[in-house]
Structures are given as C-alpha cells and as structure tokens.
C-alpha cells in the first residue's frame, strides 16, 4: 500500500475532533505526523507546498488535507483564490482543584 493510501486510511479511522492538542501530534503515524508537523511549524501551507514537502502529487495531498479538515485536525481559509491550511488546536481545558483555592485567589484579585 502506498503512503497516500496509508495516510488516508489512518485519517478515515480517526474520530471527528474539534481541534487537536500539541500532544496529539506525538501519537500520529510517521507519515501523517510528518504532514501535520510541517503545517504546524510553517504556520500555514497550501496543498501545493505540502505536496512538495511530502513528495506526493498535489491532488492527493489536497484530498488528505480536506479529509483532515473534515475530521477537525485542520482548518482552511481561502486566500487569493487558494486554500490555505492551518492546524486547528483545541482549547486547553481547565483543571479541577480544591474549590477553596480558587475562591481565596479570586478574593485577592478583587482586593486589588
């Protein structure tokens, strides 16, 4: 199976998300991680740029990217008639710690 099919299958098997965490990048397979790392580090990529980096045909990579948008891993925006893809990060969730701490700190803020 070629790299294109392997990555597409991996994306298909993944659940829909509303963005990923930076830690999620670590558990992707090598091929998909390479693509996601590139988009994350560059900030944004067109299908053509990502394809050149991956050494794959642009139409195949465009399919992958759109698949990743559908799964909630990327977001895309039209810039001068070209789709530009960016990593979609999930909100960092808050943590639960003893209630007393927050109210004590909240009071300190109000006192200022």
């Amino acid at each position: 199976m070629g790299i294109f099919n392997r990555i597409q299958n991996e994306i298909d098997d993944r659940e829909n998300r509303e963005g990923i965490t930076p830690a999620d990048l670590l558990e992707l397979s090598m091929g998909l991680r390479r693509l996601m790392n590139r988009i994350t580090r560059e900030g944004d990529q067109t299908a053509e740029q990502a394809a050149a980096y991956m050494g794959l045909p642009a139409d195949e990579v465009e399919d992958m990217l759109n698949n990743l948008v559908a799964k909630g891993y990327l977001e895309r925006e039209l810039e001068q008639d070209v789709w530009v893809y960016r990593t979609r990060f999930a909100r960092k969730r808050g943590r639960d710690v003893p209630v007393g701490i927050w109210s004590a700190l909240g009071k300190q803020v109000k006192d200022k």
């Binding site: 994350t40 580090r41 700190l105 803020v109």
Partner: protein, 259 residues
C-alpha cells in the same frame, strides 16, 4: 536578518537555568543588532521578567490579557532596550521586547481553571514576529511537557534543552529529546549548566553528546557569581569577561549560525 526564527528553551526539570540563559542569549542577540522578542510561556509560574528588572506594578498588559481577548499581542510587548542597556558598557544596537505572563494570582488561577485557546497562543507567536519585525523570538517555557511547552517545541525552528550534570536531568532530557525528534525540530542543541569545577568539561560534553546524539552548544560552570546576582540582572552584560558570559556568547554564536 529578518528571518523571524522561533527558538525555544526548555528543560524537563525545573531550576536548570532556562530563564537566565534565555535572557542572556537574547540580550546578546540584541547587542549584535538583531530585533528579538522574549515571551514567557511559563503561565503558571512566570519569572523571566525579573531578569529584565520588571516587577508586578510595571506589568500593565500581559500575555494573559491577549489570551482572553482583552488586547492585541503586540500591546503586551515591552521594549527592554533601555533597561538591558543600563546593565553594563555593552551597547544594545538592536531591539529587545519582553512579553511577560501575569503575576496576579487571580490571572494565574483563571488560566489553570478555565484553560485558554491554544490556537490563539500559536497565532500570537506569529503576530509578534510580523508586527515587531522580529529576527528571533525566544520562548521561555515551563519545565516538563505541558501544552504550552509542547506547542513551543512543535513550532520552533531551533530548540535548546538545558540540563545539569545530574542523573534525574539525564533521564528527563532523554524524554524531551525523543519528543523533539517526533516533532521534527529542525535544529536541536543541548546546554549543560551548573557543572561543578572538578568535572572534566570536555569529557562531560562528549559523554552527553554521545548519550543523546545531539550537539552540546556549551558547558556552563556552577558559578557563585551568577548565584550571587540572583536573577536580578543580565549576567553576561554586567560581567562580560566572566567564563559564564563567554559560554553565553558561544551559545549565541552557535544559534546565530544555525538558525
């Protein structure tokens, strides 16, 4: 120039010297004429502002205000040129901006309790480079691997991992090196800090390089002079002839050549 490179400084364990080394290396870049930004992503325990002589009262807007949509990120950048320049005889011909995290207990609590938009932090790094026309953005991180730290590694062009000659640091560094390889950081350098004088520095460097299969940019001695300054100033500008300052300049030269 005008490269807009992102450089993250990390260590797996705390207290290794990240904030001191970040402030010193970034100041050396400003002295070389570059435009640099220094951002404190240690939101839960901020500290690097101290090295630039800033206190809570002087921090009006912080990274936290940006993360909660109260202002633009460039409004949280403070020009440190005058303060840094006052440290010694070295002229700061470039620019150095600090983006501090809030020291207000309630603001720190809010981030821990409510979280924040990671995408906004990511956009913020890019906007800083663009709006302030930065050659280099240095990211000072929280020790260990939290969300901000992983993001900073994922987007950095160059990563510096600081470790002490200590078994706990060695094990932790192995984890971070592994993460940086998985995230394909283009350039990775190690810096050994707080090495006691009885150690053979050349030997230590060789051992660490072969253990982690990554270059060591410098070995800094455990220095009583540095400890005495107690993060109250930029050591390498105050005491340029000191061995620690020479090591800082070595790191700056290696980073400059690499990124």
């Amino acid at each position: 120039m005008g490269k807009g490179k992102i450089i993250s400084i990390h260590s797996f364990r705390g207290g290794t010297g990240k904030s001191n080394i970040t402030a010193n290396v970034s100041a050396q870049f400003a002295a070389k004429g570059y435009r640099v930004g220094v951002i404190d992503t240690d939101i839960q325990s901020p500290g690097i502002h101290v090295l630039f002589g800033m206190n809570e009262e002087q921090i009006d807007k912080s990274l936290n205000d940006y993360l909660y949509g109260r202002c633009k990120i460039q409004e949280t950048a403070y020009d440190m040129g005058a303060r840094v320049g006052a440290s010694g005889d070295i002229e700061i011909s470039g620019k150095i901006y600090l983006i501090p995290s809030s020291l207000r207990a309630g603001e720190i609590a809010k981030v821990l309790r409510e979280g924040y938009e990671v995408g906004l932090l990511n956009d913020g790094f890019r906007s800083l480079i663009k709006e302030l026309k930065l050659d280099y953005l240095f990211i000072d991180t929280h020790p260990g691997l939290n969300e901000e730290t992983l993001l900073s590694i994922a987007i950095s062009d160059l990563l510096i991992i600081i470790l002490r000659p200590d078994q706990q640091d060695f094990q932790g560094t192995a984890v971070t090196v592994d993460v940086s390889r998985k995230l394909e950081v283009p350039q990775l350098f190690l810096v050994i800090n707080k090495a006691i004088s009885s150690l053979d520095f050349a030997d230590l460097k060789k051992t660490v390089e072969s253990t982690f299969e990554a270059p060591v940019a410098a070995v800094l001695p455990l220095s009583e002079d540095m400890a005495r300054l107690a993060s109250s100033d930029i050591f390498s500008l105050r005491f340029p002839d000191h061995v620690v300052s020479q090591a800082i300049r070595d790191i700056a030269a290696i980073v400059e050549a690499a990124a």
